[in-house]
């Protein structure tokens, strides 16, 4: 369904330099599947989502392939992309305030998302919008329909953005940290809604999050990103039970839940590498507890027993992955 193949994104920054925000990512989201994408802040998760949506900062360079049902999205014209966006692929962006127009009623913005892609009357769109707002847990949606965004709490705005993204039953949904501003009961409701959608319409979801609890709850597979690259992916069960990459291990260990009230929380020491000059070799080497001399060259991507992949020299005995992605 959605197939991301060796995608690289370079974003221009001051002084004629480039940030390699995504450095060769291969990832697939199947029909009805929820794939969790986790990784440290700034590792390129949102940029990868932007690459799929055709929404990258101006001047960015994109290479590799983004296939939706076998069709390469990179060949689309701006107008064709606009048709695909919000209809076949939808995005719940990380910053809800930025994706809502501050001068329009929230309900009207959801209705507009519907009418952009479907030829239905204003009335019908309004009714559907109200239902969508109810589904994402906005209390009394008909009465709050014409409120502008700033009258909504942070979590309510986030839910409006989710409602707009779900408006047209997209076949792929990119949900960029969709529940960070929600309390856990409403978060559970939203996650339930997402899972319901995958079952009902076969939507594939790429769920970007930093909450491993959320991944464990709803995702089928997980992909762990570090400094622009996916260092490990596999089924949630396999990766949680036996994280192979040292970064995945460190990430699982730094969950606050595991260390209640016992002084300082553990942090992964060191800094994320500067993506204007990504290090040669394994990008995690500078912070890795198990770094050794081979790590100065890029590790091979190998296939794990459960059918996942990992890029780390500690596992080079495993077979390399075949070229084609499923």
């Amino acid at each position: 369904m959605l197939q991301i193949d060796d995608v690289r994104v370079r974003i221009p920054v001051k002084g004629g330099r480039w940030v390699e925000a995504v450095g060769g990512v291969t990832l697939a989201v199947g029909s009805g599947e929820i794939v969790g994408l986790v990784g440290e802040s700034g590792c390129g998760k949102s940029t990868l989502g932007g690459a799929v949506m055709g929404l990258l900062p101006s001047g960015s360079q994109l290479s590799g392939q983004v296939l939706l049902d076998g069709r390469d999205l990179r060949g689309l014209t701006a107008e064709e992309y606009r048709q695909v966006r919000g209809n076949d692929i939808a995005l719940v962006s990380q910053d809800p305030s930025a994706s809502l127009d501050p001068t329009f009623a929230v309900g009207a913005q959801v209705a507009e998302a519907i009418r952009n892609h479907r030829d239905i009357s204003r009335r019908a769109a309004r009714e559907q919008a109200v239902e969508l707002l109810r589904a994402v847990g906005i209390p009394d949606p008909a009465a709050r329909y014409s409120d502008p965004p700033h009258r909504f709490s942070g979590g309510m705005k986030q839910r409006v953005v989710i409602a707009a993204a779900l408006a047209n039953d997209p076949s792929v949904l990119i949900a960029d940290e969709p529940t960070t501003a929600l309390d856990v009961t409403i978060q559970a409701q939203i996650l339930h809604l997402l899972r319901d959608l995958t079952v009902r319409t076969g939507t594939g979801v790429l769920l970007i999050t930093h909450d491993l609890g959320v991944v464990a709850q709803v995702c089928d597979r997980i992909a762990v990103m570090y400094a622009g690259q996916v260092v490990e992916q596999g089924t949630v069960r396999d990766v949680f039970a036996d994280p192979l990459h040292p970064y995945t291990r460190a990430l699982l260990d730094s969950q606050p839940a595991a260390h209640h009230r016992s002084g300082d929380l553990p942090v992964i020491l060191g800094q994320v590498p500067d993506l204007t000059h990504p290090p040669a070799g394994c990008r995690f080497a500078a912070r890795c507890a198990r770094v050794h001399d081979r790590c100065t060259t890029a590790p091979p991507v190998v296939e794990t027993q459960g059918g996942g992949r990992v890029a780390c020299w500690l596992h080079d005995a495993l077979p390399p992955v075949a070229q084609e992605v499923s």
Binding site: E40, G42, D140, R144, D183, R237, A241, Q255, P256
Partner: protein, 330 residues
């Protein structure tokens, strides 16, 4: 010992959309009480849209309540204006959720950190520069970060700048509205460690709003749980997490996702429509969704009542607004 912050009977309503004279109102806060001791951290959790940010803004003097009082160190904040308000604001500072949105993109980090020093005319310009460098150092940034713009910093660095700016005027209380929600786990841990250190060294008190219950459990001395404009339970941190009493608190704690694949989401923890703050349910506001409700729940408004025997002088009393669960505990 008087409390640093004492909120009593706070009521805030907003006009609901629509027009006309008999326009309905959104009941954001409906009689909220909260106490915070010096150098303590009070965690505030609760349903999204239950009024946590509104409460935080009232404490900061950014929102005028319809009714109720906010006593800060014995001074009534509600209704303060002009220089009196400015004087008190110096001692209560905010840290916001979105570290990028809370810094002016056109300003250098140094200027943002200096903002309150400039406002109050503290010291000479070179003094202020020196103070900025001290503050940056205090939050673990280097002096040359002062000349950068927010876009040139990572999320964690931006949040450190936000904290440095809040510390500049030497506040006694920092109101932090979801300060770590936008940060990944590792950066989040750094910021929480920083806040804990500042509290130890400077004795700052925090009103700490968060959705992440494990974070709240980590940082708080006391915790209050909000539901639809009311506080339904308040207790000492350990007490609240060990013995949650109110049905909503229990639902909330039950819904925390555990990072283990065997703990799949099977059911939505709370069923029923989320009630509207425009027409809040009668009686107990939680009753339409409460698994334990009895007939009287829709009629009688439960008041916060002490539970159990944990109630000693140096302990925060454990208060719960639910008569149904009360007799269950001796």
């Amino acid at each position: 010992m008087t409390a640093l912050l004492d909120v009593r009977g706070l009521v805030v309503t907003f006009p609901a959309p629509g027009s006309g004279l008999r326009r309905k109102r959104v009941h954001a806060l409906s009689g909220v009480d909260l106490t915070l001791g010096r150098g303590h951290t009070h965690g505030l959790v609760g349903e999204s849209g239950s009024g946590k940010s509104t409460l935080a803004r009232c404490v900061l003097g950014l929102q005028r309540p319809d009714d109720g009082s906010v006593l800060f160190d014995g001074t009534e904040i509600v209704g303060l204006r002009g220089s009196a308000l400015r004087d008190i604001r110096r001692r209560i500072q905010p840290v916001f959720q979105d570290p990028l949105g809370s810094l002016d993109p056109r300003w250098t980090v140094g200027r943002s950190v200096r903002e309150s020093l400039d406002a109050y005319g503290v010291g000479s310009p070179p003094d202020r520069e020196r103070r900025v460098r001290e503050l940056l150092d205090l939050v673990g940034l280097s002096p040359d970060h002062a000349d950068r713009h927010p876009v040139q910093l990572s999320g964690g660095q931006r949040q450190r700048v936000g904290i440095a700016a809040a510390l500049a005027s030497g506040p006694d209380l920092i109101v932090a509205d979801e300060p770590v929600s936008a940060l990944d786990v590792s950066v989040q841990a750094q910021i929480l460690n920083l806040m804990a250190r500042l509290q130890r060294d400077l004795g700052v008190a925090f009103l700490f709003v968060s959705h992440d219950l494990s974070v709240v459990e980590h940082v708080s001395d006391e915790v209050s749980v909000m539901y639809l404009g009311k506080i339904v339970e308040t207790a000492d941190r350990a007490d609240l997490f060990a013995n949650p009493v109110h049905p909503y608190t229990r639902a909330l704690l039950d819904a925390v996702p555990i990072p283990e694949p065997d703990a799949r989401l099977v059911h939505v923890p709370l069923s029923g429509d989320i009630p509207s703050p425009i027409d809040p349910p009668s009686g107990c506001r939680f009753h339409p969704r409460c698994p334990l409700r009895v007939d009287s729940c829709s009629r009688e408004r439960p008041a916060l009542t002490p539970v159990g025997t944990l109630n000693s002088a140096d302990h925060t009393p454990h208060l719960v607004a639910c008569p149904v669960v009360l007799p269950a505990r001796p």
